[in-house]
């Protein structure tokens, strides 16, 4: 499939009363993919969404839709629909009229509206709920009505503003599957905004990690999880052990006073760096076999695994996820493979990071 760009942000800056919310953001959204804007509250992700929907104009920079500038085009003339965080269903209308709202405005014939609404309800598995009042629906059902109301207009782009944040865990997982399958089936581009990294990893083709009005890293969930660009991303996505280290030379890194082979390279000799090892990559072993020797501090049963907290002699904390038990107070060894070590440079830009990965990942 050839790459078709739907939305382009070109050096977009947004300020509220001189307070920058977005600091020079550029990115492209391709057709037919599931994107996630991930970041803590106040990072600017909702601002980006509002600008795409047409509720906000950038202070400077351009927003393009299929190559055409849309900075000043109002929301009601954009082929974009939004699922709002609080669903924003019209309380004075029933389910049918809520979903038909956009179609009626387009003056579509009655028969066709009825057919489309039925189809939309089928899509979100709410067949037969046409006559229900919104007040009679549960949170999860309202959520699905909101999705149907947006999708029935056949937008080129669907925006979802933290739509699952008000649902309980089980419903949430269900909705994640539903959203993902809807996106695949319809081939519509989705942009999903969330602060929940698990949600982002589970659903997306592509994740943009945001912090303080900047895109810190973008890439597939696997790329971002396995190769976070810096401390912030590593910490925000999943759980991680991050320690200071020195890059002796390519593929040799020193931390906790020992040298280990790794698979990273492209830094200056003896450059100060940080190293990430994911908790699930650390394997419990005997102290004499371990690459690291640590003392077990505590152990929690998490269902799928035990969460074991350990301290090494230098005082670094190591978090281990293991199906094996470890007795608090005992000394154990931790082993890992060279691929499990991920080295991060300080203040590396995304371009440099990507270029460096390209250069040695042959």
């Amino acid at each position: 499939m050839k790459k078709e760009v739907l939305i382009t942000f070109n050096h977009v800056i947004k300020k509220y009363d001189d307070q920058p919310v977005l600091k020079d953001i550029s990115f492209e959204i391709e057709k037919g993919k599931f994107y996630t804007l991930l970041g803590p509250s106040g990072c600017g992700k909702t601002t980006i969404l509002k600008m795409i929907a047409g509720f906000m104009e950038p202070t400077s920079g351009d927003i393009l839709f299929e190559g055409k500038k849309i900075n000043n085009i109002p929301a009601n003339q954009r082929q974009v629909n939004t699922v709002f965080q609080d669903y924003a269903l019209f309380p004075h209308l029933n389910v049918f009229d809520n979903i038909a709202f956009g179609l009626k405005l387009k003056k579509m014939p009655k028969k066709q509206i009825e057919q489309k609404v039925t189809e939309a309800l089928q899509m979100v598995r709410l067949s037969g709920y046409e006559k229900r009042e919104i007040t009679e629906m549960s949170g999860g059902q309202r959520q699905r009505v909101a999705i149907a109301r947006a999708l029935v207009n056949e937008p080129k782009l669907l925006l979802l503003d933290e739509p699952l944040s008000a649902l309980d865990q089980k419903l949430r997982t269900e909705m994640q599957y539903l959203l993902r399958s809807l996106q695949k089936k319809l081939g519509i581009t989705f942009i999903f905004v969330t602060h929940d990294q698990e949600e982002a990893l589970a659903m997306s083709d592509e994740i943009f990690v945001l912090n303080n009005g900047n895109i810190v890293q973008s890439g597939s969930p696997v790329d971002i999880y396995d190769e976070p660009i810096n401390h912030y991303v590593a910490n925000f996505i999943g759980e991680s052990n991050i320690v200071d280290a020195v890059m002796i030379k390519d593929e040799l890194v020193e931390f906790t006073g020992k040298q280990f082979t790794c698979v990273d390279g492209g830094m200056k000799p003896n450059e100060a760096v940080e190293v990430v090892i994911r908790p699930e990559d650390l394997v419990l072993t005997t102290p004499d076999k371990g690459k690291l020797v640590v003392t077990v501090q505590s152990m929690l049963f998490r269902g799928v695994h035990y969460e074991i907290r350990c301290l090494d002699d230098l005082g670094n904390e190591w978090l281990v996820h293991s199906t094996k038990r470890a007795i608090p107070g005992s000394k154990i060894g931790l082993s890992f493979d060279p691929e499990d070590i991920h080295v991060m440079r300080f203040n590396e830009s995304e371009e440099d990071f990507d270029a460096r990965l390209e250069s040695y990942s042959e």
Binding site: A53, A75, N76, T82, H92, G102, R149, A150
Partner: protein, 283 residues
Amino acid sequence: MLKKVKWSQLYLWLVFIFLYAPIFYLMFYSFNAGENMSKFEGFSWIHFQELFQDTRLLIILLETFILAFLSALLATIIGTFGAILIRRFKNRKTRLGFLSLNNILLVSPDVIIGASFLILFTVLGAWIRGFSLGFITVLLSHIAFSIPIVVLMVLPKLQEMNESLVMAAYDLGANDRQVLLNVILPYLTPGIIAGYFMAFTYSLDDFAVTFFVTGNGFTTLAVEIYSRARRGVSLEINALSTLVFVFSLFLVIGYYFITSDEKKFKKSKKSQAQVESEVPVVK
């Protein structure tokens, strides 16, 4: 515990007796066969018969209702849009400023409002040929003092409305007019209706403002009763008061039935919905 309940009941009874006694006293004498309230001389409908033969009073009654109907209608339209516009101010200070201006009118004494309108209308009368005190001036002043009431009744509903509802309507392709007609106004309807009835009753029983701005040709029930009462109370007024009281009583009862009907209706719908949801949904 028991004693406490009894005391509170006694208290309420006393308050209500105190509040209702003058009205019932007045109504009681409307059935008097005699000519005044000094002595009850026996039951008769004679004052009601007098009332229905008094075409002047009946016309005034009709005009008062037309005035209330019209002024409430226009005040509701103006006030609703006023409330929507006040809500639109993003700046908190301007919004509160406008709201205070609105509320000042609500609490300022009718006498002052009436006097100021009288001055305004006499000035206008000097400028514009054919403009004199009468129905129009009363209508204008009633609209004016009703607008703040409507604003006050509509605003809470507006504040309750989530901004995302409006955004959702735009998002689905609605233009400004469609957002207003299809989303904002339906949402505000309960507040608008409440505002209308408030304005209606305020207009119906206003005396002070009307007294100032009414001319020779036009008078309302309140002003008429006042001027008749000054000449010595005729029991015809008592008969009219009885009828008005019964009318308001029916209004209250009607309101009660409408609201309880609505609740019952909603409840039955809900139970129906529950039955439906017990049937397994075919996926």
